[in-house]
Subunit: 287 residues, 2 copies
């Protein structure tokens, strides 16, 4: 599954470079997309397409690739000097640190466009699935409540915490689960809850990591939530409270998986991913 | 036709605001989209859909709206401090001047997503037209040779002038003409040349305006090409040479219009738009 994601991403970028792409733009796009991300969202999309029969694997690959491209685009933009001004990401220089802010903006833009281009190309084999797929992916990213809106809440004087977290993290997980189902011709509605719960779990895990880990462990600046005054589950519930919340969210995610041929495989996968979520210092002390 | 464009844009934004969009993001998106633009590209798309029969008017509206959203997104990003650092645009504050760089980045991102969302929604009535429509619009915007690539050439140590201009201006005109045809179920290939010629004409007109007009007439900082060392037809051919080039490009655009029911209406429209292109001081002295 991991290999399917990398192959789909590599094929899309190679195609976008065909002819005469500006070399630095191309390098910035590659740095944004191939920088050691865990590929959690696209693998989730593929796992759900698999659980639903995966009768159009190229369309599932496209959905997975599109979700990952949009995730990487948002990271490239979030790291910009005008937002988090983060010099590192996953232990490597951020896109703007390496290529400058202009190319970081443009690499993000190019990845957003590429995501929809990839969906359109794969959709030619099953055009009736394209409208719901485009709607689902766009809802995870744009206005009113996708990741762009989530980032925009940080520019508001007051942000509703629930809406902020759901847009900033949950929306793209929901897009991943639902688009995996749509790509396989299944009803996406029963898969929404899994995306919501996993999104919430990742948000809690992210808050925990930001509070507990050092920059070296984290691969990006630590302690940013406290430093930037961002809402955090750790501030709200304390370390152990946040860790308990994480465990119960993963349980709810597993329980939400609808009956289908691949349900057990999927339950195991979610549980496995979840054990990697919490910082090790916490799992040791609270196990 | 102008009204169809505004109605389609307003409907798309209103829908994207539904529920709980962050208010400042919504305001920044509206400022980027409704700031007195001439709507040249979307009207061109609708005119060509009309010339091709316009049997799916909602899809033509969506194509037109998508093209304009992508154009406005690129302006919001191009005006950012890390690019042109332009405080004004069309005689009004640029998006970042009014809302700050973070919301200008996010408003552009939201508009890119919204453009593809609008296409997907309208495409439900004619799904077979969606894959070519998505491909055509994405080609006008992304890598390797859309407007994002055009802007990225400015970050390269050496940029091929032809590829730079064609990506920066021509690509979206080509997307406008071809997507108008696709939305109406027609073969887009015969409409490529019209987009290319009009794109080149607009590029020359833009260079002329930048060289000749004052900031007050232009509604944005003047003399930027010379100040930023950007390639310009005026530098290359002089003012009168550039003006002659503009006239011949408009002639070639008119001549390129393929035989169809609406050909004469379209020829008149292109000619009419073209008379508005050149700065008045030049049309007086060179008429």
């Amino acid at each position: 599954m991991a290999q399917r994601v990398e192959i789909a991403l590599e094929a899309a970028v190679a195609r976008a470079e065909f002819g005469a792409a500006p070399p630095l733009l191309s390098a910035a796009v590659r740095h944004a997309l191939f920088s050691g991300g865990a590929r959690v969202r696209p693998q989730l999309a593929l796992a759900i397409a698999g659980a639903c029969g995966d009768d159009q694997p190229a369309l599932a690959d496209a959905a997975a690739a599109a979700i990952e491209m949009l995730h990487c685009a948002s990271l490239a933009h979030d790291d910009l000097p005008c937002f988090d001004n983060a010099a590192t990401r996953r232990g490597r220089p951020s896109v703007h640190a390496l290529y400058g802010a202009p190319l970081a903006v443009l690499a993000g833009d190019a990845l957003i466009v590429m995501a929809f281009e990839v969906l359109g190309r794969a959709g030619a084999a099953a055009p009736a699935r394209l409208p719901p797929l485009l709607a689902t992916v766009a809802r995870g990213v744009g206005m009113p409540s996708g990741i762009v809106a989530g980032q925009a809440w940080e520019s508001e004087p007051v942000a509703p915490v629930e809406a902020y977290h759901s847009a900033k993290t949950g929306a793209l997980f929901v897009a991943a689960t639902m688009s995996g189902a749509i790509a396989a011709g299944a009803d996406p509605a029963p898969w929404r809850r899994l995306g919501e719960k996993l999104g919430s779990a990742y948000q809690v895990a992210d808050d925990l990591a930001d509070a507990v880990l050092t920059e070296a462990d984290l691969g990006k600046p630590a302690g940013q939530d406290a430093a930037l005054g961002r809402p955090s589950v750790v501030t709200e519930l304390g370390l152990q409270g946040a860790y308990q919340r994480l465990k119960s969210l993963v349980g709810e995610a597993v329980d939400s998986i609808p009956a289908c041929d691949g349900a057990q495989v999927l339950r195991d996968l979610v549980q496995l991913q979840a054990t990697r979520l919490a910082p090790k210092s916490l799992t040791r002390s609270a196990a």
